[in-house]
Symmetry: C2
Subunit: 129 residues, 2 copies
């Protein structure tokens, strides 16, 4: 796929997995929460609330693997602490991600209305046969 006049450099085959990865719900929320500063594991868990322990771990490992998040262990501390923070590369993601987040926040009312509109009137409804 090409983006014509907008000319995204390189393959969309390579960017689309990345896009779907960072556009991923948990990954996006994690990056956004970490943009406030370094956080510990259970701190992240509490702030993202709806995330399960398993998905938080999986997400953090993924982001660490991408080089977007750094993991630091402080075994000397009591209790032992693990701190997560954004890498410089991770920081560069915050702005575009936040912009998309803003867009969602601004337009979620309109979208929910559109959905209700689409579902309701029966033009499209398949359940009422």
């Amino acid at each position: 796929m090409k983006l014509g006049h907008m000319s995204v450099p390189g393959d969309c085959d390579r960017i689309s997995p990345i896009l779907s990865h960072v556009g991923n719900k948990w990954a996006a929320l994690t990056v956004l929460v970490l943009s406030e500063g370094p956080k510990r594991y259970n701190q992240l868990r509490r702030e993202i609330e709806t995330v399960s322990q398993r998905m938080l771990t999986v997400t953090l490992r993924g982001l660490e693997r991408d080089g977007l998040v750094r993991r630091e262990v402080f075994a000397e501390r009591m209790p032992p602490q693990v701190e997560y923070s954004l890498t410089p590369l991770g920081e560069t993601l915050v702005q575009p991600l936040f912009a998309l987040c803003q867009w969602s926040a601004v337009n979620c009312d309109a979208i929910e209305r559109n959905q209700a509109d689409y579902d309701g009137p029966g033009r499209h409804a398949r359940q009422a046969g």
Copy 2:
């Protein structure tokens, strides 16, 4: 979840599903391709290449439901044509989505290197254990 100093208005409970929806691989690609102008069904299918017929349909219905994409049927034409285009709301999504797409394009090399780095050295590799 709150975004502290950045203060995303409203619940993140409502924006995160939307974010994961528009951040969705197929939805994002579809919106981006449609930002070039109206396209017909099989035209979209060819341009997005890797998309299956089923997923394209599902994605288009979802975007239509959100009010981001408009579907117009021209039965009079030969052969009968169905044209998809962005709504004004859909247009407003292009810019932030494109920004994220650009980020992916710019950083995909670095990310792939990070991943190889993370997987390779054996520090993290579990398979060779």
